[in-house]
Structures are given as structure tokens and as C-alpha cells.
């Protein structure tokens, strides 16, 4: 039987075409999807094993008997099985294919069977090597897959030479089948991977659909978190993402706790509970996206060992100065693969939400600041007070120049201290100085109808409180209290220590306090808010009043407030 090299090559290529047609047809089915991704999940491994074993055996069947050998293409199945499925799958495919090849008989049977096992192992080792290097993409490179198969075939031929006897005949056959096998296997493997890539591209072509989804999410979630990054708004956003992406579950957390969780596993992932997942805490601490796909990076729910979730993507929500304010998490159950699209989408959503939260906070701060600043500006300029003071000084100047000079000094002290930034913390003694300057002017204005007494123990002078706290309270007592009296007014300012709290009472004898939100309420609430901001909700300003008898405004700050 005389077989020439060209004919053999053509026959093998023909066979390869049949082989690839089968591969192509199979690629249109669902069975093929696990092959398009690297996987460690047993069902996917099994699918990988079965498919490549079938191809391996098919390669063997389609072979052409050449004397005692068979020129064939099982190498494609074995090498690719190992390359895509890992060493275990590779060797398993190799053994399966090898046994089958052995069953076909011939003097090459043992050598060929061994060769197939070695090819499976080769693919598996390359898989492991590339995964360790993090070069997952290279696994799907047709040229490199072809090259690897080429190496596999070379190894097989060497084994043939080493194992099959007699050597002379073996050499002859090897020389005959070497070139056709190398060409057919190399091309076949490359094209097989090509088919896989096409298939994957097809799957991912659905990404256009996903961009539409991204836009839908953006439109639906617009402005929700701007109203505040809290549990309620987070739930709304999580629901939108869950509905639009179709992932297994969606969670939103702040830095400490879960704000929202919707989807599979919501029986034990409860909003309001503390974050327990290490990957989430890592994502928050290091400001990085953490992707535990359940394959290459193991994922296990930190709350329940029976949780059906099998993969998670944690994306930090980033606020000002790259400060992480929370995370958004997407999950897929163990029965489902995490699509690369959802991964990208997740990062996009995180950016969208981050900027929303930031915008919301910015707006809120701006509004608060604007209100405080207007109020403060008013207090600092205080035209009523200024012109009345100037009028008083003008009146005093003629009769008592000395007194006039003192008053001008008080006025300048008052305005100088007014210009202190309100965020500053000042000792009580300084606040008293401010109040004194103010009171000197008011006492001169209402000389016949106002008296004031101040009783502050020296020991409390060093207690610190927000600057500009005491004066507005005293001014309030005069402006809305004693100056509205038709009888003489009296204001007393007393400070005392109550456990670890500094208590300052400012009391007038007018009792005209109205608890409705008038001008005075705004000023007092500002002072109150600033103290609470500094020291917490148990401190601040309270009011007690009896109509026409007294109004007492009480300021409470912690004694040990060294600094903010």
C-alpha cells in the first residue's frame, strides 16, 4: 500500500473539516457555553471533559490507517481539553481518548494512547501555567493553541518512536505521518479555538443590549441617592439594578453596614446588619474592585454556609478625595456564570451612584452652609446694632468723651470678635469678653431700663465651645426680650458645672419667648446645631419660659471639650 505524503495530508485535512463542522454545529448549542470561559466548577469541568473526550475519540475514528498506525487528529481534543479544562480534565480526556485509541489496535496502539495522555497533560500544564501568570486571555489565543498542539503532536511522534517496535518500521511510518498530522492538528486546534472565540463574541454581542440596560438604570436611578445615602434610597436603587441587570442579587453597603439587599439570599443578608464579608471590607479599605468569580477566586458567603450565591463583585463607591463611602455588590448564584458584561456594568453603576451621592452631599452642604453664612453675615454686619451703637456714641460724645472712647473700644472689640470664623472653638472666657463688649453698648443704649448681671466662676473660663455661641443668645434675650418691655429689663448670665457638663443660663425677665419659627428661632437653632455638630445630640440649647415672667435659654456643652 503506497501512500504518498500529499494524499495523506489532503485526507487528514478533509477529516479535519468534518471534525470542525461537527465542532461548529456543536458550538451553536448550549453545551458549548462552558467552554467559552475558564471554569473550575465541577459541572463545567465535566462538560469540558465530555466534549473534548468526544472530539478526541472522533479524531481517532476519523483517522486513516497507515500500515500499523493511524494518521489522525485526537491531539486537538486532548490538548484543548487540557488547555481549557486544566490538568485534571486534560489527563482525563487523554486517558479516555488513549484507551479508545488503544482499543482500535495496531502496533502503534500503546504509543498513540500514551501520546494522547501526554498531550492532555501538556494542555493542562499550560493551562495551569497561564492561570498562575494571570494570562487567561492567552488560553483563547488560536495561534498559541495551534502551536501547543504542534508541540503535542511532536511529543506524540517521539513517543511513537520510543515505544513502537520495530524501530525501523516505526521510523518509516512516523516520517510519513509527521507532516500531515502536524499540519492537520495544528490548523484544527487553531480553528477550533477560533470557533470558540466566535461563539464567545456572539454571546458578548448581547452587550449592546446591556448598554441599553445601563442607560435604563441610569435614567431610573437618577437623583435617588442625591436625596441622601440611606437605607430607604439604597433599597430603591438596589431594586432598580436588580431588575435591570437580572443578576442573582444586589447589595449596597455603607462603610459599616448593609443598607440594601435584594435577590437570592435575602433571607440571611439583612439590611441594617454589619458587613461581615472580608472582600467587602477589603474593597472599602483599599478602594479597589474585588471580583470573586467563584472560579479562579473562591467565593463563599460569609453569613451562611448554605447560601446559594456563588460569585460576587464588590465595587467601592468613592466620595471626595478617593474616600470610600460604601460599596455596591452584585452576586450570581452557584448555578450561574458571572457575565463579563455585568462586571463592567457594575463598575459603571458604581461610578454613577458615587457621583450621585457626592452631588447630594455637596448640595446638602451647600444649602446648610448658605443658610449658616447668611445668618452669620447678618450677625457680623448687624446694621441695626451698628447704627444704634453709633447713635449712642454720638450722644455720649458731648457729655462724656471718656465714656464715648470706651464705647468705641467696645464696639471695635465686638466687631473684631464677630469676624472670627464660626467654625473655631473658643474658650468661655473669650465668649464672655465678646458678650461684655456687646453688653456695654446695649447698657449705654438702654441705660435707664436695662440691668445685667454676670456670674461665671473663673474656673470655667477655659471650657471650650464653638465661637459665637453666647453672644447670639444674650442678644436674643435683649432684642426679643427686655427691649420689648415697658418696664425695666433684667438679664442674668450664669455658668455652672453639672457633673461633666458646662451649663450656661441666660435669663431675662420679659418672658416673651414664642416657640414658633420666627427670626429668633432661626438664630437659636443655628447655635444649637453648631453645638450638636461639635459635641453630639446630648448637648445644645434648650429654652424654658413663663409668659411675661421669664425666658431662660440654657446652653450645655461637655466640660472636657479640649478641641473638636
Amino acid at each position: 500500500m503506497q501512500i504518498n505524503l500529499v494524499d495523506l495530508s489532503l485526507v487528514l485535512l478533509q477529516q479535519m473539516c468534518v471534525y470542525l463542522v461537527v465542532a461548529y454545529l456543536l458550538s451553536r448549542t448550549k453545551f458549548f457555553i462552558p467552554l467559552t470561559h475558564v471554569t473550575i466548577r465541577p459541572p463545567h469541568k465535566l462538560a469540558c471533559y465530555v466534549i473534548f473526550s468526544v472530539f478526541c475519540m472522533m479524531g481517532a475514528i476519523l483517522g486513516m490507517p497507515v500500515v500499523h498506525a493511524i494518521a489522525n487528529t485526537p491531539a486537538i481534543g486532548a490538548v484543548l481539553g487540557g488547555l481549557l479544562g486544566g490538568p485534571v480534565v486534560g489527563v482525563a480526556v487523554g486517558i479516555t481518548g488513549g484507551l479508545y485509541r488503544y482499543s482500535l489496535g495496531g502496533s502503534f496502539a500503546l504509543a498513540a494512547a500514551l501520546g494522547i495522555v501526554v498531550q492532555g497533560l501538556l494542555g493542562g500544564l499550560m493551562h495551569r501555567h497561564l492561570i498562575r501568570k494571570g494570562k487567561v486571555r492567552t488560553l483563547f489565543d488560536p495561534v498559541k493553541a495551534g502551536a501547543l498542539t504542534f508541540v503535542g503532536v511532536v511529543l506524540e511522534l517521539l513517543i511513537d518512536l520510543a515505544v513502537a517496535r520495530p524501530f525501523g518500521q516505526t521510523l518509516e511510518i512516523v516520517l510519513l505521518i509527521a507532516v500531515p498530522e502536524l499540519i492537520a492538528n495544528t490548523l484544527g486546534a487553531a480553528m477550533f479555538i477560533g470557533i470558540l472565540l466566535d461563539r464567545r463574541a456572539l454571546i458578548e454581542r448581547q452587550s449592546s443590549l446591556f448598554s441599553a440596560k445601563a442607560l435604563a438604570i441610569a435614567a431610573r436611578a437618577d437623583g435617588v441617592l442625591r436625596r441622601g445615602f440611606n437605607q430607604e434610597n439604597s433599597m430603591t436603587v438596589a431594586r432598580i439594578i436588580y431588575e435591570e441587570t437580572g443578576v442573582g442579587a444586589v447589595a449596597i453597603t455603607d462603610r459599616e453596614k448593609i443598607l440594601a439587599f435584594i435577590g437570592i439570599g435575602d433571607d440571611h443578608h439583612l439590611p441594617g446588619t454589619r458587613i461581615s464579608s472580608a472582600s467587602t471590607l477589603d474593597a472599602i479599605a483599599n478602594n479597589e474592585v474585588i471580583y470573586a468569580d467563584g472560579n479562579e477566586v473562591a467565593y463563599q458567603c460569609s453569613i451562611s454556609p448554605t447560601c446559594p450565591l456563588g460569585a460576587s463583585l464588590v465595587i467601592p463607591l468613592v466620595g471626595e478625595d478617593s474616600h470610600v463611602i460604601g460599596t455596591i455588590k452584585l452576586y450570581e448564584p452557584k448555578t450561574k456564570l458571572f457575565s463579563t458584561i455585568n462586571r463592567t456594568l457594575g463598575e459603571g453603576i458604581a461610578k454613577l451612584l458615587s457621583s450621585q451621592i457626592l452631588a447630594g452631599r455637596y448640595e446638602q452642604q451647600k444649602a446648610m452652609l448658605a443658610q449658616a453664612e447668611i445668618k452669620l453675615l447678618h450677625a457680623q454686619v448687624n446694621p441695626h446694632f451698628l447704627f444704634n451703637a453709633l447713635n449712642t456714641i454720638a450722644a455720649v460724645t458731648c457729655d462724656d468723651p471718656e465714656k464715648a472712647r470706651d464705647l468705641i473700644g467696645d464696639l471695635s472689640t465686638f466687631f473684631r470678635m464677630n469676624l472670627k470664623r464660626p467654625s473655631q472653638i473658643a474658650p468661655l472666657a473669650e465668649e464672655i469678653e465678646h458678650v461684655n463688649a456687646y453688653l456695654q453698648i446695649e447698657l449705654a443704649r438702654f441705660s435707664d431700663s436695662l440691668s445685667v448681671d454676670i456670674d461665671i466662676p473663673d474656673s470655667l473660663g477655659r471650657v471650650r465651645l464653638p465661637a459665637f455661641t453666647l453672644q447670639p443668645v444674650v442678644e436674643n434675650s435683649i432684642k426679643h426680650g427686655t427691649s420689648q418691655l415697658l418696664r425695666p429689663g433684667h438679664v442674668s448670665i450664669k455658668a455652672r458645672q453639672e457633673n461633666e457638663v458646662l451649663v450656661v443660663d441666660v435669663e431675662d425677665n420679659a418672658g416673651l419667648y414664642e416657640p414658633k419659627p420666627t427670626g429668633q428661632g432661626l438664630g437659636m437653632s443655628l447655635v444649637d446645631r453648631r453645638i450638636k455638630n461639635c459635641f453630639g445630640p446630648s448637648y445644645g440649647v434648650t429654652v424654658a419660659s413663663e409668659r411675661d415672667v421669664f425666658t431662660r435659654i440654657t446652653i450645655r456643652v461637655p466640660l472636657e471639650a479640649a478641641s473638636k
Partner: protein, 239 residues
């Protein structure tokens, strides 16, 4: 000679104004008041030609005080203010005299010259707030009480003057004549001598001769004269 009253709650401000006014010979400061209530009494009693009136004062502002005066017999008003944009706007609009504190001598001279030349009747009614009473000033022996409109049951005028009767029955004399109270409050004129708060009416009894009487919720009976009956019926929506 022009008789002047100074009304300001700040003693030094009064002193300062008195000082600058005393430089002129034809101005006679007849007194100072530290609040609007005192001032109403003095104005009604002494009838000054000109009142220098501060706007910001306790309980009753300068403008509100004007609502408590009879605009027909009003002295000429020169408003005083240290700082009040809105008030100044209104003064400018209706060409009222006003001075900013501290008082500028040149500006004061100008004002005084105008006062000497002619004191055109001021249209106080046009000033926002000067035509609406929120409370009626009532005078006790040693104090003034401001009775809020919702506390007034009726007002009666008798030989000894005008009395404000509260919903609790307390009677307090006031210096404001009945017709001013009628003009500047929602009180309803039901009789030559009576004004009644319509919110306090419980029923109206029809009598013979087209007469009627009002029973208040407190049980007080107030006569209704034939002359005012049609107006009452119209106001209360009775046909």
C-alpha cells in the same frame, strides 16, 4: 414757636436729638417719651405740633402707634430710624419727613426749615400698617394694657369715655374714639354707642319697631339701633 415731642426708647438717642434741636430758638421740646403708649397720652393731652417718632420701640412700634391716633387731629410726624430699609422706602414713596440716626445736622436743618415753612397735612393712612389696629391700648391707673383684637367682645362709649370690654367681661377705658376703632378694626358698629366683635355674637333677637339686640356668647346683651341694622344684616349675611 414749634412745640415738639420726642418719642424714642433709647434715652441717649432722645438726649442727642434734644441737644441738636436746642440749637434752634424756635423749637420748643415739650417732652420726651420712651414708648408709644406714653406718647399717645401725651399727644392727646398736649397736642404738640411736631412729633419726632422712632420706629423701633417695644411692643408698639412707631408706625403702629400712628394707628392708635386720630389722623384728623394728628401732629406732624418726623420719623426717626437707625436702620430700616423698608420703612425708609415707604417714607420716600409718600414723601414723609424722616431722619436717620445718628442725626446729620444739615439734614435736620433742612427738615426744620420745611417744618417752619408749611406743614402740609400728612396722609398717614397711606403708610402701610398705620391704618390697622392689632391691639387696643387701654389705660389703667398705673399701667397701660394692650388688648388684642381677638380678646375684645365689644366697645361701648358712655359719659365717662370709651370702654373696651373683653371676652371675659373686663372693662378697660381707652382714649381712642369709637369712630377710629370702627375704621381701623374689624369691629362692627351696631349702635351709636357700641361696636361688637362679630366672632362673639351668639344670636340676634328681633324686637318690635324694627329694633333688635345682640346676645354675645358670654350672655351680654348689646342693643342694635334701627339705623345700623341693615348694615349688620348685610355683614352677617342675613336677608
Amino acid at each position: 414757636m414749634i412745640n415738639v415731642l420726642i418719642v424714642d426708647d433709647e434715652p441717649l438717642a432722645r438726649k442727642e436729638l434734644r441737644r441738636v434741636l436746642s440749637k434752634t430758638d424756635d423749637i420748643n421740646v415739650i417732652g420726651e417719651c420712651s414708648n408709644a403708649i406714653d406718647a399717645i397720652g401725651v399727644i392727646n393731652r398736649e397736642k404738640p405740633d411736631v412729633v419726632f417718632l422712632d420706629i423701633q420701640m417695644p411692643r408698639v412700634s412707631g408706625i403702629e402707634m400712628l394707628s392708635m391716633l386720630d389722623h384728623e387731629k394728628m401732629p406732624h410726624i418726623v420719623f426717626l430710624t437707625a436702620y430700616d430699609e423698608f420703612a425708609v422706602q415707604a417714607f420716600e414713596q409718600h414723601a414723609f419727613d424722616y431722619l436717620l440716626k445718628p442725626v446729620n445736622q444739615a439734614r435736620l436743618d433742612k427738615t426744620l426749615q420745611r417744618l417752619r415753612r408749611d406743614r402740609e397735612p400728612q396722609k398717614i393712612d397711606q403708610l402701610p400698617g398705620a391704618n390697622q389696629l392689632r391691639q387696643i391700648p387701654c389705660f389703667g391707673q398705673h399701667h397701660v394694657q394692650l388688648v388684642r383684637m381677638e380678646d375684645v367682645e365689644h366697645v361701648a362709649s358712655g359719659v365717662s369715655g370709651v370702654y373696651v370690654v373683653s371676652t371675659d367681661g373686663t372693662e378697660r377705658p381707652t382714649e381712642l374714639p369709637l369712630h377710629i376703632l370702627q375704621d381701623r378694626t374689624p369691629l362692627l358698629r351696631c349702635h351709636r354707642q357700641y361696636l361688637v366683635n362679630t366672632d362673639c355674637i351668639e344670636k340676634i333677637n328681633f324686637l318690635e319697631n324694627g329694633l333688635a339686640e345682640i346676645s354675645t356668647k358670654r350672655g351680654q346683651v348689646i342693643p342694635v339701633s334701627r339705623r345700623f341694622f341693615p348694615q349688620i344684616k348685610e355683614r352677617l349675611g342675613i336677608l
